[in-house]
Assembly symmetry: C2
Homo-oligomer: 281 residues x 2
DNA sequence: TATTATTACGTTAGGCGTAAAGATT
DNA sequence: AATCTTTACGCCTAACGTAATAATA
């Protein structure tokens, strides 16, 4: 039977060129390598080297053996990582969401319901989320529409309604509601990492420019110190009362009033979805 | 680092269901298996079993590990066989021929030129021979026509001329030559394992039937005791003087007078081809 | 009672490193 | 002289089997 540590010594020799350097690389003695190479020839049952008086080289068969050894070592490494990843996946609930707001509700519920599980969440584009569901990378997905997938449970969850926030001095400040087409052309302050909202804004208001702020503090400072309109939703928590001085005007387009859906593998975590449905609402 | 013998014990356990039976299967003691399973969990860094007081079972991760172990073990086995096969291929000259006659000339020359090499020859269909050349399965091919392959040396070798052998009483016995179309409709005795000749006869004489004899003795007996026509060529050696009583009439079709070509990888064994060219002719 | 897993324990084989030898540049 | 491979030698670990333990069906 092949021994992977022996194969590792073989590839080290192939990499280094001499037994001594291979030994040094692997922090073992030269005689050990010599013995291992002899033993490998026994195991393979073929000659792998051409031996000079104080020089040893791989022959053609040896090169073939090195090639096989490399493949086998990488396969072994893969096997190890595969099993570890699988084990971790059993102790991890992974959630892919199209937007941050639903996570604010889902994550606390999940982590208290599964205190010994790792909860991993990330915000992704919708195609990526669908792929995560398909591949099984995530067990739970949050989508802004009812994507009818076979074999997936898909139930409505939260509703999020977009409003634009303008200073009192703004042209639209007297309006009780607006549409995207009326907003199109204005420039807006936008936070980064808002999921599908970013893409939707660019789609619905192609004539507008969006000043995306990655840093929360800088974003808030700009909201305070500029008259540029920004957005909020019914789910946003404005603890700083940042938007106290601004007028909030609901956007009436259907695209601005989304219903989030929880999607998950049928059966497996369907009860979770129902649980959220009851707990969060 | 994973140890393949440990993985083998793991799969044995998965196959057998209990550690004791796995130990029995592998001819080792139960404590060894117990220790190995514990060690495997250390190496993988994950739990692989659910343990009762006197019962142990694979958990989900364990099943995954078994799956990986099986793949790895078979990969290791493949690696071993690949290297051995490669080594053997270095000590073997493999020849694929479309007909037996050229081999009678090539094989003795080859084995005396390479006394320490194994000479392996087989008679195959032409597509199979071309595939053997492409895949490198054979180093030397003998084809009945000049197949122009890139990167292959291809030189003319022997000529073989077909004659039909009929008893003196036969309708054609006075002819000095015949064509396939004249022979078409007669039934013939044929030896098996004559390579492309078999297929060619059926192609050129579709109205004929061929009584193919696998056994040499039975074939000879039928030639002697029947008046059915058979075939011979200029290369055939009739040591028994089997055909002494028969009239040999050359077949004039170009398909019945073939030139064999030696094909091989350019450079590698081109000199062999030239050697045959000079030695055999 | 028979079977199974695990722990304890003693033995031994084999693997490793040090040292030395032989050989090449 | 320096480098490299291989052999010789001695130590010591670590792997194995036997025996014992505990628990189950």
């Amino acid at each position: 039977m092949l021994d992977l540590t022996e194969l590792e010594q073989l590839t080290a020799f192939a990499d280094m060129g001499t037994l001594s350097m291979a030994a040094e690389k692997l922090h073992i003695s030269q005689p050990t390598i010599t013995r291992t190479m002899q033993h490998l020839e026994e195991v393979f049952g073929v000659s792998l080297f051409v031996r000079g008086k104080n020089k040893i080289t791989l022959n053609d068969t040896g090169l073939k053996a090195v090639e096989q050894a490399r493949q086998l070592l990488s396969a072994a490494d893969n096997a190890l990582r595969t099993v570890r990843a699988f084990d971790k996946s059993l102790r991890t609930i992974t959630i892919s969401s199209c937007a941050p707001a639903p996570l604010w509700y889902v994550l606390p519920v999940l982590s208290s319901a599964y205190p010994d599980m790792t909860i991993a969440s990330s915000i992704k584009s919708m195609p990526a989320i669908c792929e995560d569901l398909d591949s099984g990378f995530c067990q739970l997905a949050i989508l802004p529409q009812n994507v009818q997938y076979e074999h997936y449970v898909n139930i409505p969850f939260l509703k999020e309604n977009l409003s634009v926030c303008v200073p009192a001095s703004h042209a639209l400040s007297e309006r009780s509601s607006v549409t995207f087409s009326e907003l199109n052309g204005f420039n807006f302050l936008l936070k980064s990492e808002i999921g599908f909202w970013d893409e939707m804004c660019r789609l619905q208001m192609p004539a507008s420019k969006f000043l995306v702020q990655k840093d929360q503090f800088e974003f808030e400072e700009l909201v305070r110190e500029s008259s540029l309109p920004c957005f909020t939703t019914n789910l946003a928590k404005d603890e700083q009362n940042l938007l106290a001085d601004r007028i909030k005007i609901p956007v009436t387009d259907s695209e601005a009033n989304v219903t989030y859906y929880l999607a998950c593998h049928s059966q497996v975590r369907a009860f979770d979805s129902l649980y959220f449905y009851n707990t969060c609402l």
